[in-house]
Symmetry: C2
Subunit: 332 residues, 2 copies
């Protein structure tokens, strides 16, 4: 399997990308196309003395940043590291693309360069989030700030396939994010989506509230990209809040410091469990190819995990399964 | 000062309401109108053997539940415990109203029975939330699922007054909840609101993301009621997640159990700090009177806190201050 990586995406590029790619080759036996300025990448490989085994450097000019117009990925910046990474997938040279670069550009590039799966209205960014008893998928987290009910319906189908195929959850429970569980709750969008989802070939459990997925009450949460993005960042903020709290708790006095030493292992494990970087990349579901967004602050470990997820995505043929399930939807 | 309390709102009514009212009389020297079925309340007072000092029972027939049509508070259910509580304020008999009953009914009742402050487009539910360094106000958390930019502008003004007057924060920093900090981010609503807020007589710091308020980067967060409600419940869910996590961490083995005993005090303090019930009630800002929503699961302590907040609201003349500041807005 061949995976294309944007070497110049994210806060820690290219060094952590390089290290993550090398780790992935080692652990998962994948082949990597590392995309970006060839000369610079070669020199970083030497400096870091990382093995280049099964890593091929593909040259690209420049990068697309968050300050750039995301649509530039189609023309003015088509040759940048992210643009070339996506092109390798659209040309069938690579099986998957991973980038920690500008989310907006990746959404445009995924949709326009790689293209949409047949019948997909809009691809969605779909994040795996930690719950008290495992994981759930939240989508959309920002590809489409405003959505139509038909889009939420497709998100439900795509998310269900992903959770079943990649996260091994049988018959995943789909919830519609709302301000209450009663059927009449919500905006026009939720009212319409509820009616569509009730008829859909997914395990729809109805309206859910913001706390429910966290308490492991559903496996796939569908919402518009504005709400999903806020949700995601509140979870992130609460994770940081907890870390700050731990620091205060366990440094107040000697007793608490000893207390920390005695419970350190469990605390570390818990802090990791709420750190969603651990899970890896965020797929842009609905593209006609495997496109993964890695977190902007990804380190080598996170890049490795994103590559692992992309590999599973290809291996388990998630695309064909999504296509099949969306077709079923069409005949409703 | 006279505060009217809906004795039949919330999961723990009327017993915890009665106890909370008695505590408030004791601690804050307020007078309470306890509104609901007179006979039942009298018998509960006897059974609980709670002092009835400075508590006057006002009879009301029935209650309005979450399953009822919220607009019934205006006519069919005008005489219920919540309806009568609000009427006491609109008639000038009580200075403030507190209820833990149906949020939707309280929003309708606050807006229609108590009425709006002059110039207010729509009242907003405004919750005080815990941050790593104190508190911030989030509004709207559900009174208006869809908002216009002008409403967010008024929310900013009302929230600023509240934080300054009640929470003693000088020149509170106002943030517009968005999916990124750049000016061009967001939906039509955020783009318009950004431009209005930039000209407003508040300390506007621009767009903020979901994690920022939690990390104490602003004091007032304005957003539409759908997004705000999801935000609130995600925070709640993450609080529960932490409690579940603590339980797991500190019961894994003997060492961790001892660790817990040594750091118990700090852990308890932290758990309380993220439990936003502690802060008390949620004002419905923009009504022509002090209207507070207590959390549905409030216990006596939470009711007491909500009453304290309502008392401060009246004492510091927040209504007149809001009116004054909204007038300034009008001349922009």
């Amino acid at each position: 399997m061949k995976i294309a990586i944007d070497a110049f995406g994210g806060d820690n590029s290219p060094d952590e990308v390089i290290k993550g790619a090398a780790l992935a080759v080692e652990e998962y036996g994948v082949e990597i196309f590392l995309v970006g300025d060839k000369q610079l990448l070669k020199s970083r490989f030497d400096t870091l003395s990382v093995s280049g085994r099964n890593v091929e450097i593909i040259h690209a000019d420049g990068i697309i940043g968050v300050e750039d117009n995301p649509t530039d990925i189609r023309k003015a910046k088509a040759g940048c590291s992210m643009g070339m990474t996506l092109k390798l997938v659209s040309q069938g040279v690579a099986n998957a693309a991973v980038s920690a670069g500008s989310t907006a550009a990746l959404v445009v590039g995924g949709t326009m360069v790689v293209g949409r799966l047949k019948g997909v209205k809009r691809p969605a960014l779909a994040t795996i989030m930690p719950s008290t008893n495992g994981f759930y998928m939240l989508l959309d987290v920002g590809a489409n700030l405003e959505c139509r009910a038909e889009m939420l319906l497709q998100f439900a189908v795509m998310g269900s396939v992903y959770m079943e195929k990649i996260m091994n959850i049988k018959n995943p429970r789909v919830g519609l994010l709302n301000v209450g569980t009663e059927d009449k709750k919500g905006r026009e969008l939720e009212l319409k989506a509820l009616s569509l989802l009730s008829e859909a070939p997914v395990n729809f459990i109805g309206n859910i509230e913001g706390r429910d997925p966290i308490l492991a009450r559903c496996d796939v949460v569908v919402t518009d990209g504005f709400t999903g993005n806020v949700y995601l960042k509140v979870v992130e903020g609460m994770g940081s809040f907890m870390k700050v709290g731990f620091k205060t708790i366990f440094t107040t006095n000697i007793a608490a410091k000893i207390g920390y030493l005695l419970s350190k292992k469990g605390l570390k494990k818990f802090a990791d469990s709420i750190d969603y970087k651990e899970v890896g990349g965020t797929p842009l579901l609905g593209c006609n190819g495997a496109v993964f967004k890695a977190h902007g602050s990804s380190d080598a470990h996170a890049f490795k995990n994103a590559i692992r997820q992309a590999r599973e995505f290809v291996k388990r043929d998630v695309l064909r399964e999504i296509e099949k399930n969306l077709k079923e939807l069409g005949s409703l």
